[in-house]
């Protein structure tokens, strides 16, 4: 069997997203990864993730019918586990190598032992996580998930007079880049077999899996967008400004959209679109990246929290602290200072979210205000505290407006790009 499809890839400054559309324009698969030093790799990974996702969607119906929803979920998690283990294995090799090279003399051996111990512990944790019924949420990205475990274990294992925490963390920091940028085999066919074995190789799903493996996904068109779009290996006419993609993507998700706010990692865009999703005006932040998504990333790092935990924490605030400076790089410092002044974490966080949204409000005002309907896109739309701050400010300043947020909001640009791909193929 062969399915015609169209791909849109949004090379963002923090995350890279891909969307696969089928012939009718329905979303077949979504893929996301963290943007990294090698743009091409990032685009490949997110694209390949989108195809993995597409294939899982293809086998969804058959597997669910044959074996039930739980088996499908189980298979998916097994697949993810296999991918993680493959990357972990590579990380292990590289860190051992780096330890031998970077850490001299008598510390070399204990360093290698510490690496072995950390990797073994992470491996065990991953396996344990797999058997949990409902594991807690965490970042989907290998870098973040393994990074936080590594850091935690390194603190436990570090010896101030021997192999220190900094050394161990240094090894990780150095090698993770290579892991991310190597073309590791992580695709559907690479791991679906082992994943099946891991869940006991249930015979009733074989046909479904077989079909999914055999289906050809024929790409008829592909468009790239986003911050790093110039670096995508696409011809110029297949590259679209992210402004247009966000406008079109948002207007496709919610047909009534007139105003779009996109907050990504490094930039914020306020876009006005007409009924066809065509951009009529836009504004983006100037050279200062203050108050963008990355700001929250730094804050999360500083607090040792996952990004997804920030919003809920901020929502527990009872008193919003007024924050003036939103220099992204200094976010951590601002937080420390406020904490040292005795402010509560929740309240500071609420203030930070409000500060970000205030900047966004200015851009919106610049681009022509907020019109019904208003769609919030980009990664920060996943953050409930950001959303409620925005909602409050919009209501205060523009009255009641419909505020749309799609669970796919982070994919809006990629969706727009995929639609462009589909349009130009037709």
């Amino acid at each position: 069997m062969s399915i015609t499809c169209f791909v849109g890839t949004d090379l963002g400054s923090t995350t890279t997203k891909s969307i696969v559309l089928d012939e009718r324009g329905d979303i077949l698969g979504r893929g996301i990864t963290n943007s990294r030093s090698n743009y091409e790799r990032a685009a490949q990974v997110s694209r390949s993730e989108a195809f993995i996702n597409a294939r899982f969607n293809l086998l969804r119906r058959e597997v669910t019918a044959a074996a039930g929803h739980d088996v499908l979920e189980h298979l998916l998690r097994a697949f993810r586990l296999e991918q993680t283990l493959a990357q972990l294995k590579r990380l292990h090799e590289l860190t051992l190598g780096a330890a031998a090279f970077d850490i001299p003399g008598k510390l070399a051996k204990p360093a290698r032992e510490a690496v072995d111990a950390i990797v073994a512990a992470i491996r065990d944790e991953e396996l344990a996580r797999f058997t949990e019924i409902d594991p807690s949420r965490r970042s989907d990205f290998f870098r973040d998930a393994v990074g936080s475990a590594w850091s935690r274990l390194a603190i436990e294992l570090a010896d101030p007079d021997g192999v220190t925490y900094d050394m161990l963390l240094g090894l990780y920091d150095k090698c993770i880049i290579q892991v991310e940028n190597e073309p590791l085999a992580l695709g559907f066919s690479d791991h679906i077999g082992t994943a099946l074995l891991r869940i006991g190789d249930p015979a009733d799903v074989h046909t479904g899996v077989q079909h999914a493996v055999e289906t050809e996904l024929a790409v008829l068109g592909e468009v790239g967008t986003g911050y790093g779009r110039q670096r995508l290996p696409f011809p110029k006419e297949m590259i679209r400004s992210e402004i247009l993609c966000h406008g079109l993507g948002a207007s496709t998700m919610f047909g009534g959209t007139r105003t779009v706010l996109d907050i990504g990692g490094q930039d914020t865009k306020a876009i006005q679109v007409d009924g066809e999703g065509i951009v009529t005006s836009f504004q983006m932040n100037d050279r200062c990246a203050a108050g963008c998504g990355r700001y929250l990333g730094y804050i999360a790092d500083e607090m040792n929290l996952g990004l997804h935990e920030l919003g809920p924490l901020a929502q527990q605030s009872t008193r919003t602290v007024k924050i003036n400076s939103t220099c992204t790089v200094f976010a951590g410092a601002e937080l420390r200072e406020r904490l040292s002044l005795g402010e509560r974490r929740e309240d500071i966080l609420a203030g930070l979210h409000r500060a970000i949204m205030l900047r966004a409000m200015s851009l919106l005002a610049r681009s022509g205000g907020v019109d019904d309907e208003f769609t919030f896109t980009g990664g920060v739309a996943n953050n409930p505290a950001a959303v409620s701050a925005l909602r409050g400010l919009v209501t205060e300043n523009y009255g009641d407006k419909t505020l749309n947020i799609s669970p796919d909001s982070i994919y809006t640009g990629a969706l727009g790009a995929a639609i462009f791909a589909r349009r130009s193929a037709n």
């Binding site: 247009l244 005006s281 836009f282 983006m284 610049r366």
Partner: protein
């Protein structure tokens, strides 16, 4: 153009020799420059803004600005001033490598820009020379009020002319001034013809990047001179030839004959990356058909000509009519008219950090012009001569996004047209 280069080089050489030849030197500003009057006293004009922009184009402004900042100037203020002050501190070698003479007089025509006043107060500290102040009232209500005109004439008569008489040792000669004004008119006519040639498709000129060269002589030392007249005649011939051949302007990397977008631009250009900046437009097939910056030294295309019959009054009108001396309503009207008359696809604002006179209010201009014309506006930010504020990637991204939007709207518009 070669003639222009020669004219400029010659002028700077003459300035360098001024201390020996005894020709008095008058520093003054582009907007509200009284070149004919200055020349009629046998004085040579120096325009510090032109020096600053030339320094920017020749890659010297960064150091000059650093020098001025070292002497206590803030990062926040107009970089023309700092570039000029830095140049003075660094030995006052002009852009073409010749030494600039000290001013015998600072003629401060306070026209459309607050910074002018401080600039010459600063230069007065440097040179310890006389400074004569010509207060040109702003067109707050969008008109030149008769009392204001009278006030300017009075100042020219009672303050400016005596100051010029003093440094030149000559008496005011109204006939000589009239003759010069007549030369001005000829050049003004030709300039307007050249600027309006952009109404053609394809446009034979770029009315922003190209026009800054075209307005150079008339905005600076050559209005009211035979050289100026000759230059504009030659320019007109050249443009006529391109027009006849159906050719576009020549951008840094080659001719721009295939013009996909016709734009109107508001705001001054960036000088430090001038060619790169222009080429970004050319790469996308964008030609500028009208710009407001080319009107800072006079809004001739709106009909103003120097009037030899009323020499002092006409100078007052000239000063008060320079672009930045107009209120926002007038500036908006002007842009709307350009968009219509030049059949443009949209307009773009290059907002420079240096210049409050231009920049404060541009976001409102953007919105109003969009509202009135229904045409898309774009906004980019840079600076005049401070290279630190030119971010090529950022500008390129905005420009590209903007032009893609223009294109999408064109396509969308035609789809709508088909549907109905």
């Amino acid at each position: 153009m070669v003639i222009q280069k020669e004219m400029i080089a010659e002028h700077y050489e003459r300035l360098e020799r001024a201390p020996e030849t005894g020709e008095p030197v008058v520093y003054t500003f582009v907007p509200g420059n009284l070149t004919e009057l200055i020349r009629s006293f046998g004085c040579l004009p120096v325009l510090p803004e032109i020096n600053a922009l030339q320094s920017g184009m020749r890659g010297k402004s960064r150091d000059y600005i650093a020098e001025a900042e070292k002497h206590g100037h803030s990062e926040d203020v107009c970089t023309y001033v700092k570039c000029d002050i830095g140049m003075v501190l660094a030995g006052n070698i002009g852009p073409t490598g010749t030494k600039l003479p000290k001013p015998d007089l600072l003629l401060l025509s306070y026209t459309g820009c607050y910074t002018f006043m401080k600039w010459f107060e600063l230069l007065r500290e440097q040179y310890d020379c006389p400074c004569v102040f010509l207060h040109v009232p702003y067109q707050g209500d969008g008109i030149i009020e008769p009392e204001h005109r009278e006030y300017m004439v009075k100042q020219i008569k009672e303050l400016v002319i005596p100051a010029l008489e003093k440094i030149s040792g000559r008496k005011y000669d109204e006939d000589a001034l009239r003759e010069r004004l007549e030369l001005s008119v000829q050049a003004e006519d030709d300039l307007v013809w050249v600027l309006e040639s952009a109404k053609n498709t394809p446009s034979p000129i770029d009315a922003y990047f190209g026009a800054v060269y075209y307005v150079g002589p008339i905005f600076s030392a050559f209005r009211g001179t035979p050289e100026g007249v000759a230059y504009y005649k030659a320019l007109r011939r050249e443009v006529q030839q391109r027009l006849d051949a159906g050719l576009g302007p020549v951008a840094p990397a080659g001719p721009l004959n295939d013009q996909k977008y016709r734009l109107v631009v508001e705001g001054p250009p960036n000088w430090t990356h001038f060619r790169e900046f222009w080429q970004m437009f050319a790469d996308e097939g964008a030609v500028v058909v009208a710009s407001t910056y080319s009107k800072v030294g006079g809004t001739y295309d709106f009909g103003f000509r120097h009037n030899p019959a009323d020499p002092l009054g006409t100078m007052g009108d000239y000063c008060a009519g320079c672009y930045t001396n107009h209120n926002l309503t007038n500036r908006i009207d002007m842009l709307c008219q350009y968009l219509r008359d030049y059949k443009a696809d949209g307009f773009l604002i290059n907002s420079v950090k240096s210049c409050n006179s231009f920049s404060a209010g541009q976001l409102m201009i953007l919105r109003e012009v969009e509202k009135r014309t229904g045409l898309p506006g774009g906004f980019i930010e840079s600076d005049l001569v401070d290279p630190r504020y030119f971010s090529a990637a950022n500008i390129k991204n905005r420009l590209e996004s903007y032009l893609q939007m223009v294109e999408a709207r064109r396509a969308g518009g035609s789809r709508e047209a088909r549907a109905s």
